[in-house]
């Protein structure tokens, strides 16, 4: 979404979303040599440069290496027009289908092509529709299958041989899907519905000062909150984390304007609390040592190590009203002072998404929140929220307390085949919400 209705172009250094059918992946387009791997396909990304986001590219086989796990193909990408994309079904013009499967015997000999034939075919043809056409031609049972069964077969084959990818600009919506699908634990199991409700219940928007503690979501939570705070607004976020350096991948992927980036202050929970309560503590080691340590993220993210680099290498400006003698301070100390100033000014909302028991964290952070402000606590463990609920209720400091979770049911809506999806995600996590009192 861009405000002026034009589509921005893909730049070096951008995080991009690569989509192949329903599969999506977040990738840093770091240099012209960057490649990206989708299963057995490796894509050279250089031709993406300066093309508009939303474009579709055709995967063109450049070379095939035979590895241990079968053929690994290297592809270049070729920008293509949208009209090139047609439904394979339409192309093949399949029409005759059986009424039911009463005459099908499942003896594993339905496909006349051997797997070596198929592999050859694949190297020869560049178009998935041609490959699928051949497969259908050589299937003994395809035309006796029901239409439903044919469709299932074609979808399966299309998925395997589909040769187009679309490049999209990362958004919170696309990223939570990717992160949750790839490894939900890396975003603490925060499902899309729960994320959407954290944003609502916290009230985060273009006005106000917000406080977040999270123990590691690949940057998803601070990114979602900064996204709601918006560009060119007056909202600010203090983002507390338990680690050495904050996880910021999702935040970087949003490519926010610098003025907006500056309104997100990421600090270590313990360190900033000490700063807040005890004021200036003199630094006692040299910068080199710190930077060396800082390159180790709290939760090592092996898949996308690029995620961490920019946050540690890029210099960050300090805008908070400080006493002036910031020279000589380490970056984390400057950030601590900025956060501390915001903490003294108090917050308009508190969000806690902790792997730890939220109780002691709330005890430390609730005094920093103004009265009549929302509090949202996320945990995957209901038992912890139960205890926290009882403590808050007894304390009388927070009212309108609720513990909630969700069912998220997705539907297949197709003519004559409408039903809820056969599998559903079992865990939304739990939210404890309420409002602070004076």
């Amino acid at each position: 979404m861009s405000t002026d209705g034009t589509t921005p172009n893909i730049q070096l250094g951008d995080y991009i979303v690569i989509q192949r059918q329903k599969y999506t992946k977040l990738q840093k387009f770091g240099s012209l040599d960057t490649t990206s791997t989708l299963g057995k396909e490796t894509l050279e990304l250089k031709s993406l440069l300066d093309q508009p986001y939303g474009s579709t590219f055709k995967m063109c086989v450049k070379e095939t290496k035979t590895g241990k796990r079968g053929a690994q193909r290297q592809h270049t990408l070729e920008l293509c027009s949208d009209t090139e994309l047609r439904s394979t079904r339409e192309v093949l013009g399949i029409s005759s289908s059986g009424a039911d499967n009463r005459d099908i015997c499942d003896n594993g000999e339905a496909q006349a092509l051997k797997s070596s034939d198929i592999e050859q075919l694949r190297e020869a043809c560049n178009e998935s529709s041609k490959i699928i056409e051949k497969l259908v031609e050589n299937s003994k049972t395809f035309h006796t299958r029901t239409e439903y069964s044919q469709e299932k077969y074609l979808l399966k084959k299309e998925k395997k041989y589909f040769e187009y990818v679309q490049i999209r600009q990362p958004t919170i919506r696309l990223m939570v899907d990717i992160f949750y699908r790839q490894d939900a634990e890396k975003i603490m199991g925060i499902r899309v519905d729960t994320l959407s409700q954290i944003i609502s219940y916290s009230g985060v928007c273009g006005f106000g000062s917000y406080l977040l503690y999270e123990s590691g979501t690949n940057g998803l939570l601070p990114a979602a909150m900064m996204n709601s705070i918006g560009a060119g607004t007056e909202g600010t976020l203090v983002h507390m984390h338990p680690g050495n350096v904050p996880q910021k991948q999702a935040l970087l992927a949003l490519k926010l304007p610098l003025e907006q980036q500056k309104r997100c202050v990421s600090v270590n929970l313990y360190s900033v609390l000490r700063e807040f309560y005890q004021g200036n503590v003199a630094p006692s080691i040299d910068q080199t040592e710190v930077e060396a340590e800082e390159t180790l993220p709290e939760t090592p993210n092996e898949e996308q190590p690029e995620a961490v680099e920019p946050s540690t290498k890029k210099p960050k400006l300090d805008e908070a009203p400080l006493s002036g003698n910031n020279k000589g301070l380490l970056r984390w100390q400057i950030e601590n002072k900025r956060a501390s100033a915001l903490m003294h000014g108090k917050f308009d909302s508190l969000v806690v998404a902790a792997k730890e028991h939220p109780s002691s964290i709330l005890q430390a952070l609730l005094p920093l929140v103004r009265p009549s402000r929302p509090v949202v606590v996320f945990s995957t463990c209901k038992e912890l929220l139960q205890e926290t609920y009882m403590e808050l209720k007894t304390s009388g400091k927070v009212t309108a307390l609720h513990v909630t979770s969700n069912w998220l049911r997705t539907y297949q809506i197709l003519p004559n085949r409408t039903h809820p999806e056969v599998n559903m995600s079992g865990n939304s996590g739990y939210l404890l919400t309420g409002f602070t009192l004076k």
Partner: protein, 319 residues
């Protein structure tokens, strides 16, 4: 004016949430006097289950404070869209926070977004759109019911949100969204009995760079027809879902634990003769153990509506 941004003290004219308990809260306007049915200006007294409140007394009070009622007390809270949704005057069926949160997320609404909504209804969802898109975006909201459109327009003004919203009285299924909005929207939301009729208008209203679409329908047939129309016009990423929030009821329960081991050996005190089964029971060692338990409420929301989302890809020619 209490919907624009976080504020600390109640000012005259603010909407204030009077919070009595989880099941009892009210939205009241912080004005010292009101006009009664006879047209007379009288003191604004608000009646609750815990007695009355002289509304004038809360002006200037800090949000989050406790205020005294004639037979009890309550807390005054600054309204949020969440609290407003639970207290607003219903002019229609409304959508609640779990669905709304998903709608905002899926429509990617953030400051600067231009959003089209139809129908306005009771303005429950509108308030969420406005929080998300202000101060740099704009909401265009449509209702075919003239009184409702007028009420909504008036409400947004009183809530300090008029600068970010335009309310239209218009039958969008038949007339579309007005040509000034062609290619203007980042997102379109429909809550209409026949959303399929409005899909072509949504298609026209979305930006050339693409955008997101959502339709909320209580019945599956509406979603089915809507999806047919979306597919025809080249929308993709079409998906339908339901979000059902369930609350956990948390309480400490004392549960009986029985001892049956003692029955294996004869009673030590045989002077009390064994009589009836019931006599047995009264002598049974039974202790109570405390558990912090969590359970579902007796009744849950079983269905609110089907949410259908879709993407209009960039650069689709619009004839």
């Amino acid at each position: 004016m209490s919907f624009l941004k976080p504020k600390t003290h109640i000012e005259q004219g603010d909407i204030v949430i009077l919070y009595l308990s989880v099941n009892s809260m009210h939205a009241i306007e912080a004005v010292p006097t009101i006009v009664n049915k006879k047209g007379e200006t009288i003191q604004h007294i608000f009646q609750t289950n815990y007695g009355s409140l002289k509304v004038e007394s809360i002006i200037g009070v800090e949000y989050g404070s406790r205020v005294e009622l004639s037979k009890g007390w309550a807390n005054v809270l600054q309204p949020t869209p969440e609290l407003w949704t639970q207290t607003l005057p219903h002019r229609t069926q409304i959508i609640y926070t779990p669905d709304i949160s998903m709608i905002l997320h899926q429509l990617e609404v953030r400051p600067g977004a231009v959003v089209i909504e139809s129908g306005t209804g009771s303005g429950s969802l509108s308030h969420y759109f406005l929080r998300a898109l202000k101060p740099t975006g704009h909401l265009h909201t449509f209702d075919f019911h003239e009184a409702r459109a007028d009420q909504a327009r008036d409400e947004f003004k009183r809530h300090g949100l008029a600068a970010f919203v335009t309310v239209y009285h218009r039958d969008v299924c038949n007339l579309g969204f007005s040509s000034e909005l062609d290619g203007a929207a980042d997102a379109v939301f429909l809550d209409l009995p026949a959303p399929d009729l409005a899909v072509p208008h949504a298609f026209k209203a979305l930006k050339l760079s693409g955008g997101r679409f959502c339709s909320f329908s209580p019945c599956i047939e509406q979603s089915q027809r809507c999806i047919q129309e979306l597919t025809k016009l080249g929308f993709n990423e079409i998906c339908s879902m339901e979000v059902l929030q369930q609350e956990s009821v948390i309480k400490t329960r004392s549960l009986p634990v029985v001892d049956l081991e003692f029955l294996k050996s004869p009673k030590t005190n045989e002077t009390t003769a064994q009589t009836t089964p019931s006599a047995e029971e009264s002598k049974t060692p039974k202790e109570l153990k405390k558990y912090l338990t969590s359970s579902n409420p007796q009744t849950l929301p079983g269905h609110t509506g089907f949410l259908t989302f879709a993407t209009l890809p960039p650069n689709i020619p619009k004839a």
